[in-house]
Assembly symmetry: C2
Homo-oligomer: 223 residues x 2
């Protein structure tokens, strides 16, 4: 029996990363799920991340890094989460978040001897965050191949973004095929401690519309 290839999968506890984890597992990878407790307002997504990792029998690591000490976002600072659409990049954008998350994943991947990092970014039904765009991911990968010992020794770190071109409805349909239980997930930016969603923030609106467009029941618990 050959050993499965290892993959590091960033999990937030939300719908997208739960789908990615199921996709990676279905491809036969041994999954190492990385969740970051960055002081996010919606703490219950960390509980969701643990549920999602368990459902996929992934190895879970939760790292703590208090980004509230840096602030600058409605998710990490005293800024209200908008409850209707706003023009431009919304205040829920967390400065350099994906760059930080990918860097921690890169470190773990190197220690595990893995070249495969998965992140559930999406550039279709998304909030316009700069660090979800394909050109950013491409540049990150180029940097990552120069950053590490494994890169110097010929490794080819790859940042996989299987959802990047999918609509939210397509993501949900894909997850349904793989048996993802979306009732385990929390997407809301201001979910309460039990994970009940507000239904009106950007993340809730995109998710709700996704279930509608996928013509599948929405298992989200709203407040």
């Amino acid at each position: 029996m050959t050993e499965s290839k290892k993959a590091v999968v960033l999990v937030s506890g939300g719908l997208d990363s739960a789908t990615v984890l199921a996709m990676v597992k279905s491809r036969g990878f041994d999954c190492y799920a990385l969740a970051i407790d960055y002081g996010q307002r919606h703490r219950s997504e960390l509980d969701a991340a643990a549920r999602v990792a368990e459902a996929n029998r992934a190895h879970l690591k939760v790292l703590s890094l208090d980004l509230r000490a840096i602030g600058g976002s409605a998710l990490t600072d005293d800024i209200d989460v908008p409850e209707e659409e706003t023009p431009g990049i919304p205040v829920t954008y967390v400065p350099a978040r994906n760059t930080i998350l990918l860097s921690l994943a890169l470190a773990w991947a190197e220690v595990l001897g893995s070249d495969d990092i998965f992140i559930g970014v999406n550039a279709v039904d998304y909030s316009g965050y700069p660090d979800c765009r394909p050109e950013y991911i491409k540049a990150y990968q180029q940097m990552a191949r120069l950053a590490t010992q494994s890169g110097v020794e010929g490794g080819n770190v790859t940042i996989h973004t299987p959802l990047i071109d999918m609509t939210k409805a397509e993501i949900i349909k894909q997850g349904n095929k793989l048996g993802v239980d979306y009732s385990l997930t929390v997407s809301c930016y201001q979910a309460d401690s039990e994970g009940h969603a507000c239904g009106v923030c950007d993340s809730c609106r995109i998710r709700k519309e996704g279930f509608r467009a996928a013509a599948t029941p929405d298992p989200t618990c709203y407040v």
Copy 2:
């Protein structure tokens, strides 16, 4: 009176970043020093970072991120620090460390409205770490310009590496000109809690040889 431009300077408490901080201050920047408590074996370098920041009247932020949870290095895991030169990339290499440090600096710079990040990497008298090389820094900067809201809005984040082509002796001479007090700094990978240096690790050897080559007294306290 015009406001000074802000710069984020990564400080470790070592000789190189102390020199960078003095250089940045001498260029008239308002300095924001960022030190990361990543669970490093040589804890006293964090005290040194605070001393160096104070001596330069820099704003200091210390962020905690326990990289021992990832491990894979003599600085963050149960691996001995080598006491003589070893071939290849030494075990003191911390996977993706500079990528992680720069990412936190990038986040802080964005919140401060700064485009200028300084890091004291050096590719001459160094330990061969992949994330100290000019091609890595260049790729990081390209990625950083795509990563952030300020980048999207036309900002030009720059990763400054003023020491990258200097010998250790040149760095020390530059610091002497700027009045850097190197007795405040700790470079040793296994310094004791008072900052006494072992004198035999890679970092100590390079530093000691630097003072010799600069023909300047070595103020390091050895055990």
